[in-house]
Symmetry: C2
Subunit: 306 residues, 2 copies
């Protein structure tokens, strides 16, 4: 199963009747990483039938409301639903204070632990690493402390060929050593070479998330060659002055970054409410970087090696 | 135009696919008073076509998330929409700190002033008074600092009979004195008595909002004879122990309060997600207090003198 990205919302600033603020879920190896969590994200999860139970990590890029006002509600719901597993929360340092204050005055007892990792807006940092992936934060240029996130899938064990291991009656307890590349020796001394029993794992993927940023070629070095890049595209080219003023990007600028970084695929989002027809933004981006897609809520993208 | 109550949400604790947390709008004389503001309230306003521009007062009963997590998002949207008018915010004292913290770390400049009125959980207090209504808070017994709100419409001027004032060619500038009960004397000295030109205004109404409370007959004295009472009814009678444990009420208990207080009409809400068929709660309440209605989101109630 390849990693899959689910778009829960991608509107900028304020919600509209049809569009919700930024939130995404990246599912890798049965773990779910949430990227930003605008107001109503828990409703979007319900709407699209994505359970919050498997969310292990939540990454918040910055403290503008359209990127995190849904977090406290989601945490409350997780607790009321009986969550016991630790939640890894990654975001700007004051995020912890804001959450703690609301929990404290609400007289709430969270049933699970929050492991908080404050982001550093000054440099690229490895935030955390699991068996399956690592999360790296990197600086984005926005009006306040803001970071992007790079998620690198980590090397996986070799892929076991089910029919072959069954043919040789290899017990389950040997699977891990097969995945690590070992040959198998049966009780009668016969050696079955690993290459008969396993095949190369699917290649690891890289996903980069650039939530809110002015056009900034400095970020190219952090996202070089990623398989999929999400980059905000709040405005069209004819609003470039406005984009600069508010530290946002145009669809063309997102495409230029994608091209410079030689990414496999570009997904644009964080659309200004002024655009009813998002294909205008898509077309503008495609003129510079053909392999562009829209982060429309409800869409999902299987992420494969570019 | 009679005052009208709009239900935006009435589910307890966590949202479901179909039901949102507590929020209501009471519209009196073109001013809108919001009562509680759970997450996603601004989306509910959009959904039901109610503009946030006329909201002059927001009353927050207590700091459990399902009653206020939508407030910061609504305030942000009001500011981004260019609001300039002061907003009167009424709620537990820490609410101001929570809002200020999020505004400050978000680098947000609100374009309008918030006039904050901290509630007192110990006794009945007149919070604020406008030309058309007054807002009174009163203690509710819940797990944390919690108040109900009583909204009293204030005496209105006499109702001008349009056809009559036109018949006598009475200039607009005299309308206020007619409303106050004065007779009219024309330039030729003819006196037209007020009773020919005006009629009695519609009677003033009283609405009481009891968001979250254990069954508590102490509140009866605060809500005596109101025209419409909203009272939470989280559970059914067979979950009365659970209701007590969490400081909530059953549908039967809400009806007992309504009956004791001799109110005109009862609206129940704050339904536990366990109830798919809300008519079970309605029927339970009706056995004690016949004139009961469900606070289902999207419903509106014209409030008239009982």
């Amino acid at each position: 199963l390849n990693p899959t990205l689910y778009i829960l919302g991608s509107n900028s600033a304020t919600p509209t009747r049809e569009r919700h603020p930024t939130s995404q879920i990246l599912k890798i190896d049965n773990q779910k990483i949430m990227l930003d969590c605008g107001e109503g994200t828990q409703n979007q999860l319900l709407k699209f039938g994505i359970r919050h139970t498997g969310i292990t990590h939540i990454c918040i890029s910055h403290l503008h409301g359209d990127h995190y006002f849904g977090l406290i509600g989601l945490l409350s719901t997780m607790s009321l639903s009986g969550r016991k597993d630790v939640l890894h929360l990654i975001g700007p340092p004051p995020l912890k204070e804001i959450i703690d204050l609301q929990i404290s005055y609400g007289g709430i007892h969270l049933n699970f632990e929050i492991a908080f990792y404050p982001t550093n807006p000054e440099e690229r940092c490895l935030v955390t690493q699991t068996k399956s992936f690592e999360i790296i934060s990197f600086p984005l240029k926005h009006r306040i402390h803001c970071t992007g996130f790079l998620i690198n899938e980590l090397p996986k064990g070799r892929h076991i060929i089910k029919s072959e291991v069954e043919k040789y009656n290899i017990p389950f307890i040997y699977y891990n050593s097969l995945k690590a590349g070992s040959d198998f020796t049966s009780s009668d001394g016969t050696m079955i070479p690993n290459k008969l029993l396993t095949e190369d794992p699917s290649p690891t993927i890289q996903y980069a998330f650039c939530s809110d940023t002015i056009f900034d070629t400095e970020i190219v070095k952090y996202i070089q060659n990623v398989d999929v890049l999400y980059h905000e595209a709040t405005f069209m080219k004819n609003q470039e002055d406005r984009a600069n003023l508010y530290f946002h990007s145009t669809a063309e600028q997102a495409a230029i970054i994608a091209k410079m970084a030689k990414v496999g695929q570009l997904i644009i989002g964080h659309f200004s409410s002024r655009y009813e027809n998002l294909n205008l933004l898509l077309d503008e981006s495609k003129t510079v970087f053909e392999n562009t897609y829209l982060a429309e809520e409800g869409n999902s993208f299987e992420i494969t090696k570019a």
